[in-house]
């Protein structure tokens, strides 16, 4: 059975039985090949549900805004499932509130190519689900940090000019924030005043602070779905920083985001044993 058929079947059944009030997924869009997020609320609507390589958003993002009437059904690929798990861990959701139709995923496309985050994806299969829409796919062995390592190899001048160049593209539209399932604070630090730690305009220094703090906030919370970078109209390389955080969190705290519910998030816990290698040397 084609995966879309399987999704539709499952969604229809869930909606028909009233097991869920809605199924969050995608439908074919009207422009080009792009699919758009779609909320199916009736068995009939469920027939529109699809999930393919043109579905570029992270659906977990919608869990924050969707009206919570009854259980929510959601399609979740590997990264999305990790996002959902992260949200449960962060108490934004109870496990019982969602019915997860897991989707083993072969990646999403951008400009006819596999998206950069999918190229190094090591969790194609959902880690958490109630049902699977297809057989699991084979995961790949890749070095997720090749790019980070290469970048670290450059001189600090080179790194700074790269960073400045990326940041200078940013127009602070916050599309990246809005695309991110982990960005859900009722008042985002970029909007806060009293104090306003950094300026709100396109000043290079202020924008740099925005990107640094954004990356920090993603430490131990980013699943590298790539939704932010796909959503950025200016093509800012946002994953450069989030991947670095992923690497540090793994190496220092032995933590990978969204893999299980038991482990405490690295910044929501502490340990007497952490590495102090970055501290001032005597």
């Amino acid at each position: 059975m084609n995966i879309n058929n399987s999704i539709q079947e499952k969604a229809k059944e869930l909606l028909a039985k009233n097991s869920v009030g809605v199924v969050v997924g995608f439908s074919k869009g009207t422009i080009n090949n792009k699919s758009t997020p779609f909320f199916a609320r009736t068995p009939v609507e469920a027939e529109k549900l699809i999930c393919d390589s043109n579905c570029t958003q992270n659906l977990a993002t919608y869990l924050h805004t969707i009206e919570r009437k009854g259980k929510i059904g959601i399609l979740a690929r590997g990264c999305e499932a990790r996002s959902v798990l992260t949200l449960i861990k962060e108490k934004q959701l109870n496990r019982e509130d969602v019915y997860i139709i897991g989707i083993p995923c072969q990646g999403v496309a951008e400009n006819g190519e596999l998206h950069s985050s999918c190229k190094i994806c090591t969790s194609k299969n959902p880690v958490i689900y109630d049902d699977l829409a297809s057989e699991k796919v084979e995961d790949q062995e890749v070095d997720r940090f090749e790019e980070v390592n290469l970048f670290e190899g450059q001189s600090s001048d080179e790194r700074w000019s790269f960073f400045e160049n990326e940041v200078s593209k940013c127009i602070r539209c916050y599309a990246c924030r809005n695309a991110c399932p982990s960005c859900y604070c009722p008042s985002c630090f970029v909007d806060q005043s009293q104090p306003s730690w950094f300026g709100k305009t396109n000043n290079l220094s202020d924008t740099s602070v925005f990107h640094i703090v954004r990356a920090l906030h993603m430490a131990g919370r980013c699943v590298d779905c790539g939704a932010c970078s796909r959503s950025c109209p200016m093509g800012v390389n946002l994953r450069k920083l989030t991947l670095k955080m992923e690497k540090e969190v793994l190496e220092r705290f032995n933590y990978t985001t969204g893999m299980n519910l038991e482990e405490a998030a690295p910044l929501a816990s502490f340990s007497a044993e952490d590495n102090e290698d970055y501290m001032r040397e005597e």
Partner: protein, 142 residues
């Protein structure tokens, strides 16, 4: 600043009240001399120090930043410095990564009995920053 040698760096230090600030006081009581470049902000615990403080200072054009707390295990609030240590590890690594010079922002532990060490740390960081030269990166031009 005209010439590198004239460079008199501005350094900001966040010291926890119970150990490092006390250590700084002890350096004074023992009359241990060190360069007059550092301005101190007293915080209850190293765990109080938010990355924003450091970023703001960098934006302000502060040339060097130090955060110091009690040695691991000694925190007056039991685990505040452990919490801080995680947060600073990520901040420090990220700042390095984007190209802020390694020694610009530093973290250490100084106990209430380590007046000597405090003065050494301040001498050391002042030297480090002098070598680096004035801060340019992340400095906000008004």
């Amino acid at each position: 600043m005209s010439r590198e040698t004239d460079f008199n760096p501005k350094i900001l230090a966040f010291l926890c009240n119970w150990c490092s600030y006390a250590g700084a006081d002890l350096a004074g009581i023992s009359r241990l001399q060190y360069p007059a470049n550092v301005r101190v902000i007293r915080v209850p615990c190293s765990g109080r120090v938010d990355p924003f403080y450091i970023l703001k200072a960098l934006q302000q054009g502060v040339d060097g930043i130090l955060v110091s707390g009690c040695h691991p295990g000694d925190c007056h609030y039991l685990s505040g410095n452990y919490v801080a240590r995680r947060r600073f590890a990520l901040l420090k690594k990220l700042l390095d990564y984007v190209g802020i010079e390694d020694k610009r922002v530093q973290f250490t532990w100084v106990s209430a009995a380590e007046g000597e060490r405090y003065s050494q740390v301040i001498k050391g960081i002042t030297e480090d920053i002098k070598k680096l030269g004035p801060a340019k990166r992340l400095v906000k031009k008004f």
